[in-house]
Amino acid sequence: MIKQYHKMPRMANVLFDFFLPEMDCRYLMGDYEEIYSEIVSENGKWVANFWIMKQILKMFPLYLIDSIYWRCIMFKNYLNITFRNIFKHKGYSFINVVGLALGMACCLFIMLWVMDEMSYNRFHENIETLYRVEQDQFYSGETYHVTVTPIPMGPGIKEEIPEITDATRYTSPGTLLLRYGEKAFFESGTRAVDPSFLKMMTFPLILGDPNTALDQPHSFIISEDIADKYFADEDPLGKAITVNNQYQFTVTGVMKNVPNNSNLGFEILVPFEFLRDLGRTMDRWGNNSILTLVQLHESASIPEVNQKITDIRHRHVAEFVQQNFPEDLQQFNERRRTEFMVMPLKDIHLYGYFGYTRQMNIQYVYIVSVIALFVLLIACINFMNLATARSANRAKEVGLRKVVGAMKRHLVGQFYGESILLAFIALVFALGLCMLLIGSFNMLSGKEFSRTAFFNWKFVLGMISVALITGLVSGSYPALFLSAFQPVKVLKGALTAGSKSALFRKILVVTQFSLSILLIISTAFVYRQLIFMQSKKLGYDKEQTIYIPLRGNTRESYAPLKEALKRDPRVVNVAGTGHPPTNIGSNSGGADWDGKDPEMTVLISQNRVDFDYIETMKMEMAGGRSFSKDFSTDTSTAFIINEELQRIMGEESAVNKRLEFMGVDGTIVGVVKNFHFQSVRYEIEPLAFRVRPESVNYMVIRLPAGSMEESIDFVKSTWERIIPNYPFDHYFVDEAYDRMYRGEARLSNLLRAFAILAVVIACLGLFGLASFTAEQRTKEIGVRKVLGASAPGIVFLLSKEFTKWVVVANIIAWPVAYLVLRKWLQDFAYRTELVWWVFVGSGVLALVVALLTVSFQAIRSAFTNPADALRYE
């Protein structure tokens, strides 16, 4: 028989290498090659190749069983060793698990929060095609972003632009008084919408027909909660409710409560045409006051739609100007056009912004997520540090495993496995912690999460990945470090805690403390900014002042009410205003004055007030006089402006100058000193007051100091006497003011929680390291004591190393904190100074906490009897 050698396909070689048992791989491969050659020479290459493939396939099940079998055996051993290690070093395990659990709990909460933020508006079935119409206005080159639109825009653009399949308007008709039998409540959650609203959005009705529910002019859709509130067990459908003591509404539908993660939040829907009854002008293209929501065709081109909306609105306003102010038409046409655009409804929560700045929620999402990751990272570093520090204890095991044939990858797998297991144990604790603290977190975040929120599949998946990532990150360094030991050296006992790993540990500790100090400094400054804003001199007196919204037809009783209150000594002063004192949210362009640069366009805030407003709010005049009944022209043509507008007008004193604004060609009678009429976050903008006692929406009342309660009781009884059919409802100006800073207050509280956690976790780690070092140096300390070292000397010896690290961490953290905080503060028009002593103070705080942690251990070892120390082997 002539035998000839035939080479097997490469592929087969590779597969054999992989599948065949390591010990016999070479011989078996030889056998296969021999048989292969034989088959080739007898039956040809194809048959042989087929045969070899068949052999490989048949090998697979056996291989699988074999490897699983061995894996199970080894896994059992790994698990055993892991648990032995955990229980043998209870202290270290405790530090690791607690640290990781705290860090993970942080992450879980933030994940919950981020997922909630991301889920806004996603529940609409048509979410991909829903948009909100927004606009950019331009004032002397600056862009002012507005999310409200003209009232006739919705129907107008739906008719003219084929890409828009549907449109609805959405606005609040103000707070309404609802009365059903004996029950009467103010409802501020009312929204007026077009009938198409229910078709476009996903707000399912439980009762009633969504197609016709809003067709009748006085029909009403209420939420389940409202239905419970008014009707309890009755069937709400078809029931009549009186609105503002004037209109009879019929309930035509009951909808499910609007979910928390909806930007459109409401409890009652009324037909949009109802606004006509309330006296709103419905056909002005020049005023922006309501939301317009549109549904676009799937294939619509967004830039084209934007352009079309811009053009349509421009055409309408141009027509209006031509009819009413033909002389202004040229100027109108020359000015830069207001640009309209559509914003996807799914993005408005995170990417929506307003005004001159581009403040978006997504920025908070980023900040908070990064901080949560920092805290987790600090916990991971603890794990790495303790694992490498104690590597000497594991070195023998590694050496022995290598000698009996463990490959590096087995060891890497083992150590990763250990850290992942520990991470999952920590996850269980973290979850328990989250369950316990969910109430506090809700308070901190202002959300309403329930415990079940942790158990939807997305979140469970998220948790598992957090644990996996934590395990992998914290296990990475120990795994690579420990698995690289050379068995000979280790078993000979040559391994001491190497200087290389000591350096790495130092870097890690410095990182931990840098992050902690960064958080402490940030917390301090965010808090200072909050206090700064809350205690800023506003230019008016917000204490001892209440305001009462004049709802429905109560405005008609404003004058007699004011008279009645003013006569009494229990009230210092009374006035009316169009906007609440803390927030004048109405503004308008198109002002004119003598000597105005025709190129310039200014957005001026406006407020209609009553006489005495300046006096009631205790604002100061910079020039001229306040409004006064002694001048008969005041109610028709007088303006009071603020210093900012005077500055823009370029006048030394604007008193007695002409000002054309709010549709009136008038005279400036006084200039009021600048005061903050919005959040201190924003700069003071130009403002003009007019006297219009008949069109105020709020009543402001200054009460005497000391007898607030009594005075409020008096105001209440007076109100009930004059306006018996409307409940009395009042707010404190200073509380309304504080409420504006809820966002900052929340961030401040959140940061404080994070900072405390970070420091606690970092100190846990430091404590672990310190006790490890002390343990290692037991002998040295013993010898030193025998030779006459004092206890304070020993404490100093053990603490100075750690002190050095924290000082280095400070030096790294300061500039970073400075840059980050400067960036954050840039969004505020009026900001607290980045004073140096807060940096130093935070550093010292971290240092003191670290020293306390370390010295606890140091003092213990300093006072041990040297005889015990030296006898320990």
Partner: protein, 107 residues
């Protein structure tokens, strides 16, 4: 006492027949000659390994040859324990077969 499976018994016997040159390939071809069927390599390798573990077989390594892509041969030979096992198996077989009369088969 080692009890052998049918396959182990066959393989041990084939190794005995092949004398001291038995290795996987010629075990396989001899089995084919006798039984008429080629077995998979794995089907022979696994019992070989098991028998080796049980102490019924000795192994030694030959020289690498070109025919095998430069890989050495692993030869198998019977140990005393192997013979014992074979003898025991045979004893049991004979006992089992003893006195077996087939019923008259009708064709």
């Amino acid at each position: 006492m080692v009890l052998l499976t049918r396959q182990e018994e066959q393989i041990l016997l084939v190794i005995h027949h092949l004398g001291n040159t038995a290795y996987l390939v010629n075990i396989r071809s001899l089995l084919k000659e006798i039984t008429g069927k080629y077995l998979d390599v794995g089907t022979i390798y696994v019992p070989l390994k098991r028998l080796h573990q049980k102490g019924c077989l000795d192994t030694r390594y030959g020289e690498p040859t070109a025919m095998r892509g430069g890989k050495a041969i692993k030869y198998y030979s019977l140990t005393a324990k192997g013979y014992e096992a074979l003898a025991e198996t045979r004893r049991i077989q004979e006992k089992l077969w003893d006195g077996v009369r087939f019923p008259a088969l009708k064709f």
